[in-house]
C-alpha cells in the first residue's frame, strides 16, 4: 500500500525537483545543473503582477461558469427523466475531445469582432455594433468554461449516479418541491463531487493556455501561461522565470485544496450504504421539456456551434468567415490523411490513451482509497503532492519531465514508454479528483463489514470497494483516455521522431501551415476519439454485461 503512494509521489516530485532547481537558477539557463542560485526569479514576479491578476480574474469567472454548467447538466441528465439522456451524456463529452487550441479557434470564427459569423448575422439585422467580442477576458473565460464544463459534468455526474434516490424521494414525500430538493438535498450530498470538480477545474483554469493564447493575445490580454510561453520559447530562454511562475501557481492551489479539505472534514457525504439501492430518475413532470431544452441548448452552444465553425473552416481553400470570399475544397482532408506522420500519430495517441487509462485508473483508485479511507501517516500530504502537476502549467511541467527523464540511464527517451509515464504523472490529479468524489460517498461500514468477516485487504478492495467506486472509475477512465489523446504541453518536449502524437501535429499545423488544415485534423481527431470511446464502451458492456 505505501508502495503505491511512494511510487506516485516519486513520479511527481522527481521532475518538480528539477523545476525548483531551475526556478532558483540565476545563471546561464543552458547550463545543467545550475551553477548560480538565488531568488531573483521569484522577486521579479512583481513585474508580472498584471499577468497574475489577469490569470486570477479569468480563472475565477471560468471556474464558476464551468461548475455551474457541469452541475446543471449533470443534474438534468442523471437525476431527471428527460428523454435521450444517454445520447446527451455522450454529446456532453465532445468538447473535451477537441484540442483546446482548435476549440478556441472555432470560437474566434463564431464571435470574432466585425467578422465573426454571429456578429455578421447580428449586423445584418441592422445593428451598428458587434453582439460579442470573444477577444476579451470574458470571452476567454466563456471558452474555457465550455471546455472544462465537461470535466465538471463528468465528475459531478459520477457523484450523482452514486446517490440513493430515496433520500430525494423522502424530501419530496415531506412536501419539498423539486428545486428545493435539488438545492437542499441533492447539492449537499454531491458536495464532494462539486468540490472535487471546483478544485480541479480551478487548477486547470490557472494553467490553461489555449484559450488565452488564441483569444487573449489579439486583445493584448496576457495570463501566466502565455507569459510562460514567451519566456520558454525566446532566446535566451528564461526557464527560471517560467519555472518560478509555474510553481507560484501551486501556492494558489494549495490554499484551494486546504479549504476544500476543511469543508469536507465537517460533514458526512455518504450516500452509498449497506442498504441496496437502484439509481432512479426523478419524474419532473411538465418540467421535462424546458429541462430538455436547457440540456440541448447547452449542447448546441458548446458542441454544435464550434464543431460547425470548424467544419466550415476545414472545407475552405483559405479560412474566412466572409461569405462572398468563401471557396470550398476537400484538399485539407486529403492533405491531412496523406501526411505520413498523421496515421502513426493517431495510433500512438490512441495506444497511449488506452494504456494510461487502463493501467492508471486502478492504481489511482487504490491511491484515492489510501488518501481518504486509510490511516496511513502522511496521506494528507500525499494528496497535495499528487495534485502538484495540476497546479503547474503543462508546458512548464513538460520541461521538468524532459530534464528529469532524459538524465536517467534508462533508454526510454524518445519512446512511447516515456510518454506513457509522463501522461500517467500529469493525469494523476484528474483521476484522483474524479474517483475521490465517489470514495467519499461510500459508507466506511461496508468495508468494515468485509474486514470483520475476515476478508483480507486485497479481497475487500476487489469485491467491495472497487465495484462501489465503479461510476467514478469509469468516469476517470474516460477523462484520462480523452486527456491523453489530446495532450499537448508534455508531448511537445517528450515526443521523438518515432513517438509522435497527434495534438502537437494539429497545433503545429495551425501555427505554421494553415487554420483550415488544422481544423480538418482536429475534426478527424474528434471523430476518432468519439468512435474509439463508443467502441470501448460497447465492448465493456458486452464483457461485463452491465448497462450504464
Amino acid at each position: 500500500m505505501p508502495l503505491v503512494v511512494l511510487l506516485c509521489g516519486a513520479l511527481v516530485l522527481y521532475p518538480i525537483g528539477f523545476l525548483i532547481a531551475e526556478s532558483l537558477n540565476t545563471g546561464d539557463p543552458s547550463v545543467f545543473p545550475p551553477e548560480e542560485f538565488g531568488l531573483d526569479n521569484y522577486t521579479n514576479l512583481i513585474d508580472d503582477v498584471h499577468v497574475l491578476a489577469n490569470t486570477a480574474l479569468v480563472s475565477c469567472i471560468a471556474t464558476v461558469l464551468a461548475v455551474l454548467f457541469g452541475f446543471l447538466q449533470a443534474w438534468i441528465l442523471t437525476r431527471t427523466n428527460i428523454p435521450g439522456r444517454q445520447r446527451l451524456e455522450r454529446l456532453m463529452e465532445l468538447p473535451y475531445y477537441m484540442t483546446p487550441l482548435i476549440g478556441a479557434l472555432a470560437w474566434g470564427v463564431l464571435l470574432g469582432p466585425k467578422t465573426g459569423l454571429v456578429n455578421q448575422a447580428w449586423r445584418a439585422l441592422g445593428s451598428p455594433v458587434d453582439l460579442f467580442n470573444i477577444y476579451s477576458p470574458y470571452g476567454i473565460a466563456w471558452v474555457m468554461a465550455l471546455f472544462e464544463g465537461t470535466i465538471a459534468f463528468v465528475m459531478i455526474s459520477a457523484s450523482m449516479k452514486s446517490m440513493d434516490p430515496s433520500l430525494e424521494e423522502s424530501s419530496r414525500v415531506l412536501g419539498a418541491g423539486k428545486l428545493r430538493t435539488a438545492l437542499r438535498i441533492t447539492l449537499p450530498l454531491v458536495a464532494p463531487g462539486v468540490l472535487s470538480a471546483t478544485i480541479f477545474v480551478f487548477a486547470e483554469m490557472l494553467g490553461s493556455f489555449a484559450a488565452a493564447f488564441v483569444l487573449g493575445i489579439p486583445g493584448r490580454f496576457y495570463v501566466v501561461t502565455t507569459a510562460i510561453w514567451q519566456a520558454t520559447l525566446s532566446f535566451p530562454p528564461d526557464y527560471g522565470r517560467a519555472a518560478a511562475m509555474g510553481l507560484s501557481l501551486f501556492g494558489v492551489m494549495l490554499i484551494t485544496l486546504t479549504l476544500a479539505r476543511l469543508v469536507l472534514r465537517h460533514g458526512t457525504y455518504t450516500t452509498i450504504t449497506g442498504k441496496g439501492f437502484r439509481p432512479r430518475e426523478m419524474d419532473v413532470g411538465r418540467m421535462r421539456w424546458p429541462l430538455l431544452a436547457i440540456a440541448w441548448g447547452y449542447i448546441i452552444v458548446a458542441v454544435v456551434l464550434p464543431l460547425g465553425a470548424l467544419m466550415l473552416t476545414s472545407f475552405e481553400r483559405f479560412a474566412t468567415v466572409i461569405l462572398p470570399q468563401m471557396q470550398f475544397t476537400l484538399a485539407n482532408y486529403e492533405t491531412a490523411l496523406q501526411m505520413g506522420s498523421v496515421g502513426p500519430a493517431f495510433v500512438n495517441s490512441l495506444t497511449l490513451g488506452i494504456s494510461v487509462a487502463t493501467i492508471g485508473v486502478p492504481v489511482i483508485g487504490v491511491l484515492a482509497w489510501i488518501i481518504y479511507r486509510s490511516r496511513m501517516p502522511g496521506r494528507g500530504a500525499a494528496e497535495y503532492v499528487i495534485m502538484f502537476p495540476q497546479a503547474v502549467p503543462r508546458l512548464v511541467f513538460g520541461l521538468g519531465l524532459l530534464w528529469a527523464w532524459i538524465n536517467l540511464p534508462i533508454p526510454i527517451y524518445g519512446t512511447l514508454w516515456l510518454l506513457a509515464l509522463a501522461y500517467f504523472t500529469v493525469f494523476l490529479p484528474l483521476g484522483l479528483r474524479t474517483i475521490a468524489s465517489v470514495v467519499l460517498q461510500v459508507d466506511p461500514s461496508l468495508e468494515e463489514c468485509a474486514r470483520v468477516c475476515g476478508a483480507p485487504w486485497v479481497y475487500q478492495m476487489r469485491t467491495v470497494t472497487l465495484p462501489l467506486l465503479r461510476p467514478g472509475m469509469v468516469a476517470a477512465w474516460l477523462l484520462i483516455f480523452i486527456a491523453s489523446v489530446r495532450e499537448l504541453g508534455v508531448s511537445i518536449f517528450l515526443m521523438g521522431p518515432n513517438s509522435k502524437v497527434i495534438a502537437p501535429a494539429i497545433v503545429n499545423s495551425w501555427l505554421s501551415s494553415s487554420s483550415e488544415l488544422s481544423a480538418a485534423m482536429a475534426l478527424i481527431q474528434t471523430a476518432t476519439i468519439f468512435v474509439a470511446v463508443a467502441i470501448m464502451f460497447g465492448v465493456a458492456r458486452r464483457v461485463t454485461g452491465v448497462t450504464q
Binding site: 543552458s30 545543467f32 513585474d47 499577468v51 470574432g112 469582432p113 466585425k114 467578422t115 493564447f213 493575445i217 489579439p218 486583445g219 493584448r220 490580454f221 496576457y222 502565455t226 507569459a227 514567451q230 520558454t232 520559447l233 525566446s234 532566446f235 535566451p236 530562454p237 526557464y239 481553400r317 483559405f318 479560412a319 474566412t320 468567415v321 466572409i322 470570399q325 471557396q327 492533405t335 501526411m339 505520413g340 506522420s341 524532459l402 530534464w403 532524459i406 538524465n407 527517451y413 524518445g414 511537445i492 518536449f493 515526443m495 521523438g496 521522431p497 518515432n498 502537437p504 501535429a505 503545429n508 499545423s509 495551425w510 501555427l511 505554421s512 501551415s513 494553415s514 487554420s515 488544415l517
Partner: protein, 366 residues
C-alpha cells in the same frame, strides 16, 4: 516593386560586403585552410556529394529537426526518399524555442537522435555553433553559396533558405492609394488597432526591429507603439486575421506567407518598401554525433543542391539564396530584391535582450 540596386544604410545594414566584406574575405582565406569539401565529390542526379552513399543507404535512416510546416517537411523529405528509397526519413517539427530546448536537453544528456537541424533564428544557430553542436562538414554544394551565407569557417551551417518580411494589406479594406508604401508609412495613426506584428520570440521580428532603428532612429518604435499593435506567434494568424478583415495591415509580413495565401485566392496584397525587405536566413547543418552521419551528409548535399532547393521552394514558398534556383510560385528571386540584414551579426545579436524588453512593452505583455 522590385529592386536590383542595393543601398547600404548608415553603413551598418548591408547587402554587398564593404569594410566588413574585407574581414569576411580574410576569414575565408583562413577558414579555407581549415575546412574544405572532399577532393573528388561524386556527381549525383543534379547535385554533388562527399558522402559515402553506400554507407548512407546502409545506415538506412535520417532524422531532421525543423521549424518548418509539417506538410512542407514531409513533401521535402519525400523527394529525398524518392531519390534514395533505402533511406527512411523522419522528422520532428516544433517552434524554434521548443526545438532548441529539446535539442539542448538531448545533447546535455548525450542522447543523440537527430542528424540535421534547421533553425530559423540566428540566436539559436550561433549558440548551437558556440557550444560545438554542429559537425564540421563542407558540402561540395556550399561552393554555390556566397561566403556571407555560410558559417566561418565553412562547414557548420549554411543558409538553406531566406525568409523575407515586408508589408501586407487587405485590398478589400485598404485601397492601393491608402496602402502604406514605405516602412515610415506604417507609423500613420490610421493603422491604430488594426496592425499586427510578431511576438518577441520571433527572429524575424527582432531583425525588423533592428533594421528600422538603423533606418529611422531609436524613436521609430516608440511612435509605432502608439498604434497598439497586436503580436502573434505565427504568420498564419497574422494573415488569417487580415484576410478576414479583423486587421487591415501586417507589419513584418512574411513573404512566403503572402505567396501561400495569394495562391489560395485570398484577398491580400504585398508591399516591397523601397528601403528594402527585412531578411532572415534559415540555418541548416549536420549535428555532431549524428546517429546516421553519412545519410546526414548526403541529405545536406542534396538539400543545398538545386534539386533540394527547388523542392523547398515548391513545398514551402521559400526563396533560395542560390541564383540558379527559380523563385517560388508567384514570387520574385531574392537576388532581385533589396534585402536588409546586418553586416555585423554579433552587434545584432547583442541587441536581443533589449529588443525583447522593448517589444514586450510595445505589444502589451509587460
Amino acid at each position: 516593386m522590385v529592386y536590383s540596386r542595393l543601398n547600404d544604410t548608415k553603413g551598418e545594414t548591408m547587402h554587398r560586403p564593404s569594410y566588413a566584406g574585407g574581414l569576411v574575405a580574410l576569414a575565408i582565406l583562413i577558414g579555407s585552410a581549415a575546412a574544405h569539401a572532399c577532393d573528388t565529390p561524386r556527381q549525383m542526379d543534379g547535385f554533388k556529394t562527399c558522402a559515402d552513399v553506400a554507407k548512407a543507404e546502409e545506415e538506412g535512416a535520417f532524422v531532421l529537426y525543423s521549424t518548418d510546416p509539417e506538410a512542407g517537411s514531409e513533401a521535402e523529405l519525400a523527394k529525398f526518399h524518392a531519390m534514395f528509397p533505402k533511406i527512411k526519413t523522419n522528422y520532428v517539427r516544433l517552434q524554434a524555442g521548443a526545438l532548441y530546448a529539446k535539442l539542448s536537453a538531448e545533447r546535455q544528456a548525450k542522447s543523440y537522435l537527430v542528424d540535421v537541424v534547421q533553425l530559423s533564428d540566428i540566436s539559436f544557430a550561433r549558440d548551437f555553433e558556440k557550444r560545438g553542436g554542429y559537425m564540421s562538414y563542407v558540402s561540395p554544394e556550399m561552393a554555390a553559396y556566397k561566403p556571407e551565407y555560410k558559417s566561418q569557417p565553412e562547414g557548420s551551417w549554411t543558409w538553406g533558405a531566406i525568409s523575407m518580411a515586408g508589408i501586407a494589406y487587405n485590398p478589400n479594406l485598404v485601397s492601393k492609394d491608402e496602402a502604406p508604401k514605405t516602412w515610415k508609412d506604417m507609423l500613420d495613426p490610421k493603422w491604430t488597432d488594426s496592425v499586427t506584428v510578431k511576438t518577441s520570440t520571433s527572429g524575424m521580428q527582432h531583425m525588423t526591429w533592428y533594421q528600422m532603428r538603423l533606418l529611422y532612429g531609436d524613436d521609430y518604435w516608440q511612435k509605432f507603439a502608439a498604434l497598439k499593435p497586436k503580436a502573434f506567434d505565427s504568420y498564419v494568424q497574422q494573415f488569417d486575421r487580415t484576410v478576414n478583415g479583423q486587421d487591415k495591415v501586417i507589419d513584418t509580413a512574411q513573404y512566403s506567407g503572402y505567396l501561400q495565401f495569394k495562391a489560395k485566392g485570398a484577398p491580400i496584397e504585398y508591399v516591397y518598401p523601397p528601403d528594402g525587405l527585412v531578411a532572415v536566413p534559415e540555418f541548416w547543418g549536420v549535428v555532431k554525433e549524428a546517429p546516421h552521419q553519412e545519410a546526414a551528409k548526403l541529405f545536406l548535399d542534396w538539400f543545398l543542391g538545386v534539386p533540394g532547393q527547388k523542392g523547398y521552394g515548391e513545398a514551402l514558398f521559400y526563396n533560395s539564396i542560390r541564383d540558379d534556383v527559380p523563385p517560388p510560385a508567384g514570387g520574385v528571386k531574392a537576388s532581385e530584391l533589396k534585402l536588409l540584414f546586418p553586416a555585423a551579426w554579433e552587434a545584432f545579436l547583442k541587441t536581443h535582450t533589449q529588443f525583447v524588453r522593448e517589444w514586450d512593452k510595445i505589444t502589451g505583455l509587460r
